[in-house]
Amino acid sequence: MALDEFTQMTLTGINLGLMYALIAIGLTLIFGIMRIIQYAHGEFYMLGAYVLYYWSSVLKLPYWLGILVSAGTIFVIGAVLQLVLFRPLHGKNILYSLAVSMGLIFIISSGGLLTFGTVVKGIPSVVTGGVSVLGAFYTYERMVISIFSATLILALWFFLQRTTTGMAMRAVSEDPEVSSLQGINTRRIHWIAFGLGSALAAVAGCLMGTLLSIVPTMGFIATVKAFMIVILGGLGSVPGALIGGLIIGFIDSFVTTLISADVAYIIGFVTIFVILVFKPSGLFGQQWD
């Protein structure tokens, strides 16, 4: 294996991994705090990309502000959906939240086809050009996206560790009953967490959408990836989601380049299966009953 090829695979792996992690962290927050299965997570990823598309491609407004607007919009949509659809199901069998989120997938992705049209769209990049790194080509666009994702993940980590709301979120995630006894308003934490998680998916959608292309049916693929990563890393664990994201990103990059795409897919699932068999609650996860 030549060095340039190895560098290329590593850079692609990091880039993919960070973006996967961004989607997965949102999901793991929702999972850990609310203990529901949010199967429509990828739909927010799709909606986020479309908000940015309308903002920057149609209205021609500034790109970076668009990401903020997208995150804000999806935060509100997520919070409202939590209050309307998921709050009534709190404490009930998790299959009900699974069914509701499945219904949401049908509604949002088909509604997306109806409103946004079936034609694939693209968000023009704002950064162009690139640089040669150890024989591999690295575009500035990918570099900026990787740095942006990493910064966002760090910021979130800081938020969870240092701010009052963040600490309340962690408390609810660890023990909902005790934390509500301690005076934490768990209902408030729930909608904040749902909005925040969805907004993270939206940001990932914006970045992926710029790098690739967007279509109303792209959400499910993101859901699949996010689920693979969250389960791999363990439910409710932010570092787990980051490491899981990088593992899946590296498998996608290395195995696809060295062997083939279908083998990469099979290996991804086999890895999850094996990890779960030896560590039944993922790499860093909490045990559920």
Partner: protein, 325 residues
């Protein structure tokens, strides 16, 4: 209580009798019979998935095991020329065998982790069918899987006839539902629900939890494999995409909308949702949206699912009567 049970039995007998008379009622309309066959497959799949649920978990690999059954039967037919009559049992046995082997490591995981691990199993099964083109025909799948014929006691039936296949599907579906009913009504069924309630408690009273989990999973996959064989010989064509995660998810939706606590749930859910889906067909791109709306509304406004409707109606009637008095 006994009166209720009696009534429930009566409704079941009436439903089965109605299903048997359906071809005559609908005037042998091939489309309605087609919907009927689809409903039979969906019921078989949903009830066998529900059997796993009685232990407290949901398998997303269910469609994968249906696929193993379908491919086994199809390959036996295309390469050896064996008919469905033999293949169906071999298909079910092969699906059960794979289920048995995989369930031992799989059962280490629990709750949501089990969902994901079983999803991985289902995806790998599907991908294996696609990857080995020489054996399974790759994404192209297998064509020309013919329905069987019967020629005994002067009876000569060709199951390419829609009516004949409808009865075949109906009988198999009824057998599967009845078998699951017997399992759940037996002592084993009580053990399953006790594991569902509390695994630790069940373990403490001396129940071998792992053994029961493995047996239930294997049994359910046996039925799924059987359904798969019936599916393959009806559609005459199968490919890996038929057995992907969505097939399992639709079965899950059937169970949730129908109701989780009794066998009526999956049967009702599969029947009603299949009909709703067919009625929505001309709605084009609104079809999927309305399907989603139906699911969400049922979960939010009909907790417990369709199976609770008779009790709700009775309660409502009682309340109305009470008010008028």
């Amino acid at each position: 209580m006994t009166e209720n049970t009696k009534m429930a039995t009566g409704v079941w007998v009436a439903a089965v009798a109605f299903a048997f008379l359906l071809p005559v009622i609908c005037g042998y309309d091939k489309y309605i019979l087609h919907v009927g066959i689809t409903i039979a497959f969906n019921i078989a799949l949903a009830t066998s998935m529900w059997l796993i649920w009685t232990l407290g978990f949901i398998s997303f690999a269910h469609a994968g095991f249906m696929g193993i059954g379908a491919y086994t039967s199809a390959l036996l037919f295309t390469s050896l020329g064996w008919s469905l009559w033999i293949n169906m049992w071999i298909a079910a046995a092969v699906a059960a065998l794979f289920a048995f082997v995989i369930s031992i490591p799989l059962m280490r995981t629990r709750a949501v982790y089990f969902f994901m691990a079983s999803w991985a199993v289902g995806e790998v099964i599907k991908r294996v069918f696609a990857y080995y083109r020489g054996i399974f025909g790759g994404w192209d799948g297998i064509f020309n899987i013919r329905p069987p014929k019967i020629d005994i006691f002067g009876l000569d039936i060709n199951f390419t006839s829609r009516v004949a296949y409808y009865y075949l599907a109906l009988v198999c579906c009824a057998l599967i539902v009845f078998a699951i009913h017997r399992i759940i009504r037996s002592r084993t069924g009580a053990i399953y629900w006790s594991i569902h309630e509390s695994e630790i408690l069940a373990q403490h009273v001396g129940i071998n939890v792992l053994k029961h989990k493995v047996i239930a999973f294997t049994t359910a996959c046996f039925f799924a494999g059987m359904t798969g064989a019936l599916y393959a010989h009806y559609h005459t064509y199968i490919n890996p995409k038929t057995f992907d995660i969505w097939q399992s998810e639709f079965s899950l939706v059937h169970i949730i909308v129908g109701g989780l606590s009794t066998l009526n749930g999956p049967v009702l859910g599969a029947t009603v949702l299949t009909i709703v889906d067919e009625l929505l067909r001309p709605a084009g791109w609104y079809r999927v949206i309305f399907f989603g709306v139906v699911i969400i509304l049922t979960v939010l406004f009909l907790p417990g699912g369709l199976e609770t409707v008779p009790a709700r109606v009775r309660a409502l009637v009682a309340r109305l009567r009470g008010r008028s008095d």
